[in-house]
């Protein structure tokens, strides 16, 4: 039966993550962006929320709470509200962990998961995006060729978060080029493996506080057992869809924050004798921002609900993510526009959200629910 009410547990998650975001993330967002760095202390405190470790079963040393995509998008919206860079840093390990949890072999689960159940933040990375204008997750140029009991990886990746500090990364590569999503597999690759080269930290327009790197693979050999899901391989589109849900939720959170900021400004800023929000030109922009933020949240919730119910959600996740990317850009652009010159200067946060927002069109496979 249709309901839009959060369960008590979800409300608790929402409140807990929101107070972390409000107390720990948002106040230092600007400083982190300027310094291209996130204090380890914040990440450590965020890790204590147990968002990742919580959903890992007890047999792999987690808390064994039921993994729920709906609860995931609720939590991620709040992190996105706090700060996108920090949210992406904090949740970067989820891609490896949740992929293994969802589709890994028993050996892979035993090998990988316990590391993410400890008290200390454990970095992990993922390499999906490639540095080409027409990059598409279903047409990867990075290849993995089977050679006996090994796979040989070749190709270039970019936007690989936390590559330097991670022990392992999940690398997506085409095992059957031309076969679309069905021809893509994932490999658990140690960052220190031979043939892996992590380049210099990238300089991006936004998410500046998040460390991302280009990574090249040159005849990098990994054992066949490193292939996610073993011989059966993985359902790549399902993993990608889980990531799309997460990105949509982050976009909703950040856009909601931008909307709140614009709303407050429009009620306080006086021009021509009254608050600028008293003019329809401004008020209507804000109304549309509010409508689209809510609409996108509902799209993400519905897709996540399907995921939890084991109903096919790949199409819904794709629609939600693309919609969210457009929505975030629209909302954050208007946030700047409403503040005029004040929105363009770095004293104010809207320009930061604006820069971050553009990223959603390029982000794929960064986090997972």
């Amino acid at each position: 039966m249709v309901s839009f009410e959060l369960s008590d547990e979800q409300k608790m998650v929402q409140e807990t993550v929101n107070s972390f975001a409000a107390d720990q993330m948002e106040p230092i967002m600007r400083e982190c962006d300027e310094q291209n760095a996130i204090p380890a202390e914040v990440i450590s405190k965020g890790w204590e929320l147990g968002l990742l470790g919580g959903c890992i079963p007890e047999e792999y040393e987690g808390f064994g709470e039921e993994i729920s995509a709906v609860t995931g998008v609720i939590a991620l919206e709040e992190l996105g509200w706090g700060d996108l860079s920090m949210a992406l840093h904090l949740m970067a390990p989820s891609v490896l962990a949740i992929s293994v949890l969802d589709q890994g072999t028993e050996e892979q689960k035993k090998q990988i998961l316990p590391a993410f159940c400890g008290e200390e933040f454990k970095a992990a990375s993922c390499a999906l995006v490639e540095p080409y204008y027409n990059f598409c997750a279903s047409a990867l140029r990075t290849t993995a060729v089977n050679d006996g009991d090994e796979y040989v990886l070749n190709g270039k990746k970019c936007l690989v978060p936390l590559a330097e500090e991670s022990e392992n990364m999940l690398v997506f590569a085409a095992t059957a080029p031309g076969m679309g999503f069905a021809g893509v597999d994932a490999f658990i690759v140690p960052v220190s493996a031979k043939g892996v080269k992590v380049g210099e930290r990238e300089k991006n327009m936004g998410i500046k506080a998040l460390a991302t790197y280009p990574v090249t693979f040159k005849d990098c050999r990994v054992p066949a057992a490193a292939r996610l899901g073993g011989e059966a391989g993985c359902d790549f589109l399902r993993l990608l869809s889980r990531s799309r849900l997460a990105l949509a939720a982050l976009a909703v959170g950040m856009s909601r924050r931008a909307l709140e900021h614009s709303r407050d400004y429009a009620t306080q800023r006086i021009a021509f004798g009254e608050p600028i929000g008293s003019r329809q030109a401004i008020a209507f922009m804000i109304a549309e921002m509010a409508i689209e933020v809510d609409a996108t949240r509902l799209l993400a919730w519905e897709a996540a609900w399907r995921c939890d119910r084991n109903i096919d959600f790949k199409k819904e996740a794709a629609l939600a993510k693309n919609y969210a990317a457009d929505m975030a850009m629209m909302v954050c652009d208007r946030g700047v526009q409403i503040m005029g010159g004040h929105g363009y200067v770095r004293d104010n946060p809207v320009e930061l959200w604006f820069r971050n927002a553009r990223g959603f069109a390029a982000f794929e496979g960064f986090v997972m629910v």
């Binding site: 027409n134 997750a137 279903s138 047409a139 804000i286 509010a290 409508i291 399907r306 199409k315």
Partner: protein
């Protein structure tokens, strides 16, 4: 617990209504678009017999009044989903055809107003007629030549003269006015002012029965779409109605208080999402058609690939699908809130604003995609584009919805945000 699965009861209704819309409504769509001002009487009679006013639930009235006394048996506790069920029903019928669906008999907005603010006697007297064998319509007359959404500017007057109210003025754009007053023994709820100096506080709704002397239909509009549904002008010249036909209190107690007005406006909290559902039904029809056609043409829609690799067609269709889904979810949320007793005026306006615009765009894009076929009257696409445009206009234009939304988001009064 967040859940998007319709209850078995709603699902069953939806399937039934969908079959009905497909087999009985859709086949008549073109004919009653071309033959404007005519009604599919066979269908309307059948609808009345089968649904017996039951469809009223879909148009804003919550449920039929309990008749008689001593219904002592304990009622089964049903889930609170009357309004959501209404939206799903509306969506399916409008998927069949918007014009015909709008011409269905029932209490309509007028009945909704009686339901919302009538006395038990008024409800008994005016609502019982909708459950008979013959189709009966109710209508609401608010708009005037110089007062659309600006309802405070209503000039129609009501003056008490002994035991009667005397109405004078002119109303336009009355949906189903002819059906209510000439084609059946229905009524129209007319908004008039009892004290012009009181502004909104002076505006009261009055029930005017069919056949009341002094009330006359002066014009039947020719329209771009929803042609099967009649839209009329009504003039009131010394039109006398019984004193007890006022809805709510006749007193203008305090000119600064507009509770009565607000109560009637609250009707819109239920009807605006239903208008959104109407729009969504038409949008779904257009999208279903497109998808079927493209499948036949061998066009495969590739979900999940990156947007810049999609064809322009794929991008358009996915945008349309996401827009429609977004509108539907906003609509469901507004009605779920209503069903659960939560204040939903903001969410109702958000849903209407989104759906009206989304479906206007969707149907226009669908016509564009189909090129000459889309423009041709051979297909229904062009009709859907004409029909759906009304959804961004009636029951408050998209701009009025944005105004309501903005006021709530910004925390501004109507004086602070005009």
């Amino acid at each position: 617990m967040i859940d998007f699965e319709l209850s078995p009861r709603i699902k069953a209704t939806r399937n039934m209504i969908h079959m009905f819309a497909e087999s009985a409504v859709r086949p008549l769509a073109r004919q009653y678009d071309e033959q404007e001002h005519e009604k599919p009487w066979d269908l309307l009679n059948m609808v009345q017999k089968v649904m017996g006013g039951g469809i009223a639930g879909a148009f804003g009235t919550e449920k039929k009044e309990d008749k008689g006394e001593g219904e002592g048996e304990p009622k089964e506790k049903k889930p609170k989903e009357t309004n959501l069920a209404g939206a799903v029903t509306v969506e399916e019928i409008f998927w069949g055809d918007a014009g015909i669906a709008l011409s269905f008999p029932g209490p309509g907005l007028g009945g909704a107003a009686v339901q919302a603010s009538g006395t038990p006697e008024q409800k008994e007297k005016f609502l019982a007629r909708f459950t008979g064998d013959k189709p009966v319509w109710g209508a609401m007359a608010i708009t005037e030549p110089e007062a659309g959404s600006d309802t405070a500017n209503i000039k129609t007057t009501a003056v008490l003269d002994g035991d009667e109210w005397v109405l004078n003025g002119e109303k336009i754009f009355v949906t189903s006015g002819k059906s209510a007053l000439e084609d059946s023994e229905g009524f129209v709820v007319v908004w008039a002012t009892v004290d012009k100096s009181a502004g909104r506080a002076g505006i009261k709704p009055f029930i005017v029965e069919h056949g009341t002397p002094g009330m006359q239909i002066t014009k039947i509009e020719d329209k771009m779409g929803i042609r099967c549904s009649d839209t009329v002008s009504i003039s009131f010249m010394d039109c006398r109605i019984p004193k007890e036909n006022i809805l709510g209190s006749p007193e203008v107690v305090d000119k600064t208080k507009t509770e009565g007005f607000k109560k009637v406006m609250a009707t819109f909290d239920a009807t605006r999402p239903l208008v959104a559902a109407m729009a969504i039904g038409v949008g779904q029809a257009a999208l279903d058609f497109l998808r079927e056609y493209l499948t036949e043409e061998g066009v495969e829609l590739r979900y999940g690939i990156n947007p810049h690799r999609m064809t322009s067609l794929e991008r358009d269709i996915m945008q349309m699908e996401a827009d429609l889904k977004a509108a539907r979810l906003l609509t469901w949320r507004a009605l779920w809130m209503l069903d659960n007793g939560l204040r939903n005026d903001l969410q109702a306006s958000m849903a209407k604003a989104k759906a009206g615009l989304a479906v206007t765009r969707i149907t226009q894009k669908a016509v564009e995609i189909m090129g000459p076929l889309g423009y041709s009257r051979e297909l229904l696409l062009e009709k859907w584009m004409r029909d759906s445009k009304i959804n961004d206009i009636f029951e408050g234009t998209g701009q009025i919805q944005l105004l309501v939304t903005a006021r709530r988001v910004l925390g501004f009064t109507r004086e602070q945000l005009k």
